[in-house]
């Protein structure tokens, strides 16, 4: 394999790795958002559901 082809392959692998990490970060952020909205809703509702105050 020539040096150029080797460099290109390494560069593509590095790009794939970076893209994968970025996707994981986006997935974690979205997951956290869903979790935060769910928990905050429960906290805000609190005992108000039982008390009939919505």
């Amino acid at each position: 394999m020539s040096d150029n082809a080797k460099d290109k392959k390494q560069s593509e692998e590095a790009a794939d790795r970076i893209r994968r990490r970025r996707s994981i970060a986006i997935a974690l952020t979205l997951g956290f958002m869903v979790f935060a909205f769910y928990v905050a809703t429960i906290v805000r509702l609190g005992g108000n559901v039982a008390n009939g105050v919505y």
């Binding site: 560069s11 590095a14 790009a15 970076i18 893209r19 990490r21 970025r22 970060a25 958002m33 935060a36 909205f37 928990v39 905050a40 906290v43 805000r44």
Partner: protein, 307 residues
């Protein structure tokens, strides 16, 4: 020589990494924003559920990050020509302007909506105002036009304690305005001290910082004036019940050092000593603000634990 040919092998991978996006959010500025907002939240005279408090802090941090990203998007041209900012992701070609704009825009809208919907709309509106003020008033309007850029633009950096306070109480009070004023008065001596020894950078890119437009001596005079106003103002929280005795002692002690350094900057006008004096004031000003808000934070925390 293009920017791409100047950078290392790692940078030749044309994929922005997670780290590049974190850098785009100005994490050091975010840390100060979070810290001052958190101190104000604890000092506010009402409880907040820890979950809602944590969400408020995260939303404020993300809002600050959005401001940083949008600022870097708009200022990419001058950032590339200043030593202090040349390594940022946009000048290095790691992130494209479109990516920075989209990232900043999504974060700005997302953080305001999250804070408004989950915490309260006073805090959400204040966060929206802060982001808009930083981008439209400071970055786009004032920064390249007037030497008063950081005086008026400094308001954007001073809002976070008001947002933190509003997240807890749902309103704006004189006490939260006082915290705003302390950061507002702190900003000019802090940034002008930096500008004094980074003057050539700003001159080269045409940003009319005070030392470039009015000269170093006028800048030193303005630093001293703002320091004289700031130091007594920073003691006032004790007298309105925001700070306790520890705050009083620390704000007076740190204030004396701040004033002494500002006086030294005023009288040291030549050579490397002048740069050193300005650098010392700049570094101490960071410690000063952290010190004031850390004391408020600790005092509020202790009083909540004891009550």
């Amino acid at each position: 020589m293009s920017i791409q040919s100047e950078i290392g092998q790692a940078d030749l991978v044309l994929e922005p990494s997670v780290g590049d996006f974190i850098q785009l959010m100005k994490p050091r500025v975010m840390a100060l924003v979070v810290f001052t907002a958190l101190a104000a939240m604890l000092a506010a005279p009402a409880p907040i559920h820890p979950v809602l408090g944590s969400i408020a802090i995260i939303a404020i941090a993300i809002g600050a990050g959005a401001s940083g990203a949008l600022n870097m998007w708009y200022d990419a041209d001058i950032d590339a020509r200043m030593a202090r900012t040349a390594a940022r992701p946009l000048p290095r070609g790691r992130i494209t302007p479109d990516e920075a704009l989209s990232f900043g825009g999504v974060l700005a809208v997302g953080s305001v909506l999250t804070l408004g919907v989950l915490v309260n709309w006073t805090a959400g509106a204040l966060l929206a105002l802060t982001i808009a003020f930083y981008i439209f008033v400071y970055t786009m309007w004032l920064k390249r036009r007037t030497p008063q850029n950081i005086v008026i633009g400094g308001a954007a950096g001073a809002f976070p304690p008001m947002i933190g306070w509003a997240a807890v109480t749902g309103d704006i009070s004189l006490q939260s305005i006082l915290l705003f004023l302390i950061i507002f008065m702190w900003t000019p001596p802090h940034f002008w001290a930096l500008a004094l020894y980074r003057c050539r950078d700003y001159e080269r890119v045409g940003v009319p910082m005070l030392p470039v437009v009015a000269g170093p001596q006028e800048t030193r005079r303005q630093i001293l004036i703002y320091s004289i106003l700031l130091v007594p103002l920073a003691v006032v929280p004790y007298f309105v019940g925001l700070g306790g005795l520890a705050y009083l002692a620390l704000s007076v002690a740190l204030g004396i050092v701040f004033l002494a350094l500002a006086i030294r900057v005023y009288f040291t006008t030549e050579g490397r000593e002048a740069d050193t004096a300005a650098r010392r004031l700049f570094l101490f000003s960071i410690l000063y603000l952290y010190g004031l808000f850390a004391t408020l934070f600790v005092e509020a925390l202790v009083s909540r634990v004891l009550v």
